[in-house]
Point group: C2
Chain length 533, copies 2
């Protein structure tokens, strides 16, 4: 901490990994180093998205252009001091994307126009009412314009025009008040409207003609990214679920709950869940944009993007639930999980592939044959279901295993699991149903770990749930009759956690249908090209 | 649709139920009726939250007060035309809550100050550079201020101060340009700063002294509402899951996917999931507020509210997953669900009670003994686990049922399920394992529906998943050997859907611990009073 004294430290978020650079050296050279690091950070930030730099230079250009109007003598002599309103307009109107600049410009223009008309009407009315009544009428009108605009902008369907109402309020006040003081409100408002129009035109022209940043393009990219995040996150989650042997679960603590440093895709998936408002606002902006680039026809279905995003979010909820099972404190034993490894892996990687190629298709504005991929996922899902069905006795701890081998062939299982069915039969046929994971635990013979060690681990995990429960166990449980049934219940629930995981995975696949449907509707409405046609 | 012609129709959202009032009468009287309805709508909107009206009148009052400065002669003569900047400041600065007004005022003040200082320095520099160089220096400086402020406001940690950077930009331009044209930038900027200060003071005073709307209070209420939404939604979901017999599931269509009209709490729970940005911004605003009302000490832990909200959201994810199981197309048969009715009901209602009383405690700023409630939930959860464990053979379709009755007593089960265990034993002992829901379906004998009817229903439901699969079945499935194993797999998964539901419920309970912990931390830091102390 000492070595950081005096360093430039812009990023106030301590969890940001970028700020955690090693900073060698003493206090004397710290400043140089940190300035260097700081410049590099800024450079990386700019390189990450070149639009950021473009946008900055565009703003500079726009204010420079509008300032020239005043710096040169000619335009200043025509409009007088009112020309400074064009600067204000540029600074307030200039937004990141073309669409939102249009939107803001529309709000500003319409607001100014309405306020101008209202101010002129009320101003004339007040003027004709006589010297005493004039300020009273003006004051009352200002009060009511304030009340009405503020009330209206809270109305849900008018909320997007909040800025317009603000413009109405201050433009009205400015025109009517300066009209009262300076006379000739008509002239004042016209001059002001002209200079606002000049500012607006400059802002729009610079925004559209110099490296335009289209909201539509952003929306398009954002949706494709969301597809990739969901696919990555699904794969990551399943991979971790099947990998996680011997690792102790990090405590599910409240401080940690939002951060799993080894799961980068999870973070992105969470961002996807919170992206609804971003997609909404981009779609609103995109609707203001004229056809451009690859979005070449009028009435491009931007709102369909929002709908596809919503369906995708429903898929992401399942991924969150899967993630919940992965990090829950009740865990199916590793041997049980590994039994279904191949099937789970198949389903998840194929489902992720469907999501990814849907995203790719939307990204390339093409329609490819997703149906065959979808069919593959469905058959893999079926295989998973069948495998679970055949081995469902593993999920319970009471029953004798049925005569699987004699009656029907086992579906293909992963190699590690293959010797299991025999070992299992030997074990359970000879022993009594003794309420352990007889099926899964016997596979431990093939593993380096001893049976007892595994059992100990198992029971420790069981005990760790629920956190408060541990005390309860110690208080009343261990001393007698109550303990064993409890342990059994926890064991059974632990095994059923695998059932939960697969059910959620299957539900994810079921939702894929709707995702494909939504993407298909978008492709139709946006007239994506068929691949190879 | 015809009858609506010419009606005032403010609410553009067609799904809003409020707009769907019956509108009798013809075109001639439609106008009157709709105006009446419209007024009533506005009245209801205002009554729903009286702060809306208060806020509107406060804005009116603030602009009126500041306009009086110009309408009266004295202040106008001191400040001249620059006084109109105070109107602009009020209109732009006046926000809904006290905290955000302070925040915005801070941005405005600091931005204006920095811009003023910079403008004066650069202005003097340009002045000393000579007549030719002066406009060039000014132009270049404007360009770079535009570029730098626009770049900086995109930096993640500076984003909350976006408005401040805008203020810097336009204030700088205004001062330096009008200084160049009108001479004496010092005088211009001082006058402007004074009038901005006057506007700011008026805005703050009105906002704080007249019916103050505190962001802290809003945050407090919002969090309590979120607790109630999650509790309601959990109960609603479980109730529907256990009730849903005979009802056909509405198709899980993409258009419907966001709206279940008979589930009001679900909508609220979804709103909770999207509330993170709202809580964040309220907490940011609340930090600007002085101690007030019941939040009577400095450094009140507003950020803890956000943390509790995050933990609560993690609980809500589980509710969403439960909801997913409720509406998934693979469903456990009703008879199976009803078997565990009492236990599921117990757990869910007690868990909802914990959530609700946590919310109530926070609402009343008290600390009560949640631990006893939590213990009750845990023991109910254990009972659920044990019951599932005892009956886990119901979730599989291969095994012979164990000798439950002989070895250990059955835990308490609902009355409908009681005759089941016998019927089930008879059935499965006599028959071969024929891969139907032997356990659950035999209970159908007690139900009015015939076994076959139920079976038909069951299989129709099974078939409906996955939607695309139906064709596949018809193409290749029905004609032979492949069909039966598939059906079996679907049946087993259907039964495991109950396991999923209960696992998710148990996971919800596990997360309650963390919720209680987070709420406890908040209670400590905010110094809530112990109940009865």
């Amino acid at each position: 901490m000492n070595g950081k004294k005096g360093c430039v430290e812009i990023n106030i978020n301590p969890s940001d990994t970028k700020t955690k650079r090693p900073e060698p050296g003493k206090n004397s050279c710290c400043r140089e180093f940190s300035v260097k690091a700081w410049i590099q950070k800024v450079w990386e930030f700019a390189k990450e998205d070149s639009n950021r730099v473009k946008f900055s230079f565009k703003v500079g250009l726009a204010v420079l252009l509008v300032s020239l109007l005043i710096l040169f003598r000619a335009p200043y002599e025509i409009f007088g001091t009112n020309i400074i309103w064009s600067i204000l307009t540029v600074a307030i109107m200039f937004e990141y994307t073309v669409g939102s600049t249009f939107n803001r410009g529309f709000n500003r223009a319409l607001g100014s126009l309405l306020a101008g008309i209202l101010a002129i009407v009320v101003g004339q009315l007040a003027l004709s009412a006589g010297l005493v009544a004039e300020p009273i009428i003006i004051g009352i009108s200002i009060f009511f314009v304030g009340v009405i605009t503020s009330f209206m902008k809270q109305w849900p369907s008018l909320m997007p025009y909040e800025y317009g109402f603000r413009v109405i309020l201050f433009t009205y006040c400015l025109i009517i008040v300066s009209g009262y003081r300076m006379g000739n409100p008509m002239r004042t408002s016209m001059d002001r409207l002209y200079s606002i129009a000049i500012g607006g035109v400059v802002a729009v022209l610079v925004n559209v003609l110099v490296f335009p940043i289209w909201a539509g393009e952003q929306l398009h990219k954002e949706l494709v990214n969301n597809f990739n995040s969901v696919a990555d996150s699904l794969e990551e989650c399943v991979k971790k679920y099947l990998e996680d042997e011997g690792l102790d679960h990090p405590e599910f603590s409240t401080t940690l709950m939002d951060e799993f440093p080894d799961e980068p895709a999870y973070k992105k998936c969470k961002a996807t869940l919170n992206s609804s408002s971003k997609l909404d606002s981009l779609a609103i902006s995109a609707k203001w944009e004229p056809p451009h680039g690859r979005f070449g026809h009028f009435f491009y279905p931007w709102s369909e993007y929002v709908k596809v995003g919503a369906v995708l979010r429903y898929c992401a909820y399942e991924v969150m639930a899967l993630h919940g099972v992965l990090h829950s404190e009740i865990q199916a034993p590793y041997n049980l999980r590994i039994t279904f490894q191949a099937e789970i892996q198949d389903v998840s990687s194929q489902a992720a592939e469907v999501v990814r190629s849907l995203g790719k298709d939307i990204g390339n504005m093409k329609r490819s044959l997703i149906k065959s991929l979808l069919k593959r996922v469905h058959s893999s899902t079926e295989r998973l279901q069948r495998t679970i069905d055949m081995h469902s006795y593993l999920l319970t701890n009471y029953c004798d295993p049925p005569e699987i081998n004699s009656s029907k062939p086992l579906p293909k299982l992963p190699e590690e699991a293959d010797p299991e069915s025999n070992g299992l039969e030997n074990n359970t046929n000879s022993g009594t149903p003794n309420c352990t994971f007889s099926g899964s635990l016997t596979t431990a013979q093939a593993q380096p770990e001893s049976y007892h060690e595994l059992m100990r681990k198992q029971s420790r995990r069981m005990h760790s749930w629920p956190s408060r429960e541990v005390d309860a166990f110690e208080e009343e449980g261990v001393n007698g009759t109550d303990f064993l049934p409890r342990m059994r219940a926890l064991e059974s629930t632990a095994a059923l956690s695998l059932a939960t995981f697969t059910s959620l995975l299957i539900e994810f696949v079921a939702r894929l249908d709707h995702l494909v449907e939504a993407a298909d509707k978008l492709a139709k409405m946006a007239k994506f090209k068929h691949e190879g046609v």
